[in-house]
């Protein structure tokens, strides 16, 4: 019950937060721009447009999620509302889960606005997303949000204030999104050749942006582009088992990051 109240409170706070609206404006603007920019609308399957969309969503959404949600956690500390809440018989678990679901809803509403508007505008200008592409991008974005929310909660729990959260959040974003291939390529140049593929496969499981992207490309029918090395994985991803495996993996990821967040929060709570 506490969890539900926290989630509702989060929703209210989320939509009274000007940051949410600025992110909403940014996201909407960028989806619209992307849709209008292309001269023709080749949007089915894995094409330039869907490829670019994936890349841009992967640049923007993780950062947006990490910043909005970790700030919302640190705000609780900074503004003293957590001190107030913790006087009630509120467990850390229900508090953080409530925050998680509330934030998830806020973020999903933001992207729904963006995609919804572009869907409609696309029809008006006569060149837009097709139904399946829109649905695909929506699911992809929701997936990214849910994964990075876990990380955001952990960052929020670890940071004392917004500035700490900002520093930590941006560095994690930079590490997972921008620097990832560069770092891996340089590190893997020191390991024997036969290690490269297994290590790559394992570390990919630790980067939600990468495995969600890989699954999405396979889902779009582009799995063969990753070459013969990953042929079996691609086939497996493409099968019903793959979908189940993917959902399980996402679930494990969210659970692990949330558990870590709860653990950190709990420890800080006992220190107070």
């Amino acid at each position: 019950m506490h969890m539900y109240h926290i989630a509702r409170r989060e929703l209210k706070m989320g939509f009274r937060n000007p940051w949410s609206y600025s992110f909403m404006a940014l996201f909407t603007l960028f989806t619209l721009a992307l849709m209008v920019i292309q001269s023709r609308s080749y949007l089915e399957g894995y094409t330039y447009t869907t490829g670019t969309m994936l890349t841009l969503v992967l640049y923007l959404l993780p950062l947006m999620t990490i910043l909005l949600s970790s700030f919302s956690l640190t705000a609780e500390k900074e503004e003293g509302s957590w001190q107030l809440l913790s006087t009630y018989s509120l467990t850390t678990t229900s508090f953080l889960l409530g925050k998680y679901f509330g934030q998830a809803l806020v973020l999903i509403v933001i992207i729904c606005f963006g995609y919804g508007l572009s869907g409609l505008v696309g029809i008006i200008i006569g060149a837009g997303f097709t139904f399946s592409t829109l649905l695909f991008l929506l699911s992809f974005s929701i997936c990214i949000i849910l994964m990075f929310l876990g990380i955001a909660m952990l960052i929020g729990a670890m940071s004392k204030n917004r500035w700490q959260a900002l520093t930590l959040g941006v560095s994690i974003w930079f590490f997972l999104i921008l620097a990832w291939p560069t770092l891996l390529i340089s590190v893997l140049s020191f390991v024997p050749y036969t290690w490269i593929k297994p290590v790559l496969q394992v570390v990919t499981l630790f980067n939600p942006a990468e495995f969600v992207r890989l699954f999405s490309v396979v889902w779009l029918g582009g799995g063969s582009i990753f070459g013969p090395e990953y042929y079996k994985w691609v086939n497996w991803f493409d099968s019903p088992f793959g979908a189940v495996g993917f959902v399980t993996l996402c679930f494990i990821w969210i659970s692990l990051t949330m558990l870590a967040a709860i653990f950190v929060w709990e420890r800080k709570r006992s220190h107070d």
Binding site: G51, V106, I123, Y193
Partner: protein, 458 residues
């Protein structure tokens, strides 16, 4: 089509002893009796092979004539010149036999309207020239291992050792080629349909053959040239093969107005692959939805013009080439338009790239900003193939852009401002406009509802 294959399958299962039921006298005797120049009309019915034609006669079916393999010999062997065969259906259940269902060893023969169902190679031309193969349908009935049992699971093959023999000889049928030419010249292969074979049309050490209006699907290589010259490949369609057209060690080939679509499922697939090809012409081909549209390696002096490369994962890859000219091609909506590495003295000027931020200052319909083909991905994955996992990873795109500001990149210095070829790819999405609108409206409503719930004060 489906119906006939169902019927055919039923017949297949029936014991072979029933084949001669109701068939008239020995067909081979009929053929042997005919004088050169004569026409032998085969009455409708089912016959047992093998048949051998050794003199210039015309073999014609009246109604449905089915000839089945009964021995280890080809169903039909032509060892003569000036033979005409038309209207037959050949059904071959021999497996792993080096000889095809229909073997031609002679010149100036005409083979048309034949339907071949085979477990191996459909038609073989051995040192045979000036033949015509028209409107033949070859269907292969060997299933891929993956079609039988999709192997699911772990891929740590690198250290898997081979303990047991991988192959029981004779047990597993291997696919053969649809139409197979060896040291055969100036033949015409026109209007044939080939489905589910190894190489659809395979030419080896053969010259001046004409391959037109054929369709190859679900095979390994649609059209495969090995050591040929002056081959003409025009108006063919390759769909869903590993590679649409594979040209190797070939010179002076002409590849025009073909369509290569959806060669994308295999991790090594491409629309057209040129390896060690010289002085050939690729013009007006439509290469759409492949893994790699056009791949060129170790090829020189070729002209690639007016081709449309659309919606491929990688439009074009060029490696180790020299003195080729690529112009007026159209690169539209490929995930990566082109990558080039070690290309020397090739000219890439004057193509259309739909994602180029083009700028035409002097109004010559050419962009003054050039289009660069980044070699980084190609070079990296060539050295370490597992890095293909980074294809279009956001961080890799970022890394690539850091490397693109370099000096001696391969580039199109005068890209076209507007597309040259009009294509007909639109239309498919009209149907979903209503749904998209509904979804868009639904999403908007959903967000408004929650924003309202959020900001509302009790």
């Amino acid at each position: 089509m489906i119906l006939t294959s169902v019927i055919w399958l039923c017949l297949w299962v029936l014991p072979l002893s029933s084949h001669a039921a109701g068939a008239p006298a020995d067909l081979q005797a009929l053929i042997d009796k005919a004088a050169p120049g004569e026409t032998v009309t085969i009455p409708a019915g089912e016959y047992a092979g093998p048949l051998r034609v050794t003199k210039p006669i015309t073999l014609q079916a009246s109604g449905e004539v089915i000839i089945r393999s009964a021995t280890d010999d080809p169903v039909l062997t032509i060892e003569s010149n000036n033979v005409t065969v038309s209207g037959l259906q050949l059904q071959d259940s021999r497996i792993n036999n080096p000889l095809a269902t229909l073997v031609v060893h002679g010149n100036q023969n005409v083979i048309e309207q034949i339907q071949i169902d085979t477990m191996g190679t459909g038609i073989q031309l051995l040192e045979s020239s000036f033949n015509q193969l028209r409107n033949i349908r070859v269907t292969g009935h060997v299933l891929d291992p993956s079609e039988v049992a999709a192997d699911i699971g772990h891929d740590h093959s690198a250290h898997q050792q081979l303990t047991k023999p991988v192959q029981q000889p004779g047990a597993e049928a291997k696919k053969g080629n649809g139409i197979d030419l060896r040291r055969s010249h100036q033949n015409q292969i026109i209007g044939n349909q080939i489905l589910n074979l190894f190489d659809g049309i395979y030419l080896e050490s053969s010259q001046e053959n004409i391959i037109e209006q054929n369709q190859v699907a679900k095979s390994r290589y649609g059209i495969h040239l090995m050591g040929t010259s002056s081959t003409r490949i025009a108006n063919n369609i390759g769909n869903g093969n590993v590679t649409g057209a594979m040209l190797m060690d070939t010179s002076t080939a002409t590849v025009t107005n073909n369509r290569f679509l959806k060669q994308k499922d295999n991790p090594n697939s491409q629309g057209i692959l040129l390896f060690s090809v010289t002085d050939s012409v690729l013009e007006g081909n439509h290469i759409e939805g492949n893994r790699v549209g056009l791949y060129l390696e170790q090829s020189t002096g070729n002209s690639v013009k007016n081709n449309a490369l659309t919606l491929n994962f990688i439009g074009m890859q060029v490696k180790d080439t020299a003195d080729n000219q690529l112009m007026s091609n159209q690169f539209v909506s490929n995930v990566i338009q082109a990558q080039a590495q070690d290309s020397k003295a090739d000219s890439f000027d004057g193509n259309y790239w739909d994602n180029l931020q083009a700028l035409d200052v002097n109004g010559d319909e050419r962009s003054d900003l050039s289009y660069e083909m980044n070699p980084f991905f190609l070079a990296l994955t060539d050295a370490v193939p597992p890095y293909q996992l980074f294809f279009q990873s956001p961080g890799f795109v970022f890394l690539e852009s850091l490397f693109s500001v370099g000096g001696d990149q391969i580039r199109d210095t005068a890209p076209l401002m507007s597309p040259v070829i009009q294509d007909d790819l639109e239309g498919q999405q009209e149907a979903t406009v209503g749904q998209t609108g509904l979804l868009g409206a639904g999403l908007l409503m959903f967000s408004f509802l929650f924003i309202y719930l959020g900001v509302r004060r009790k």
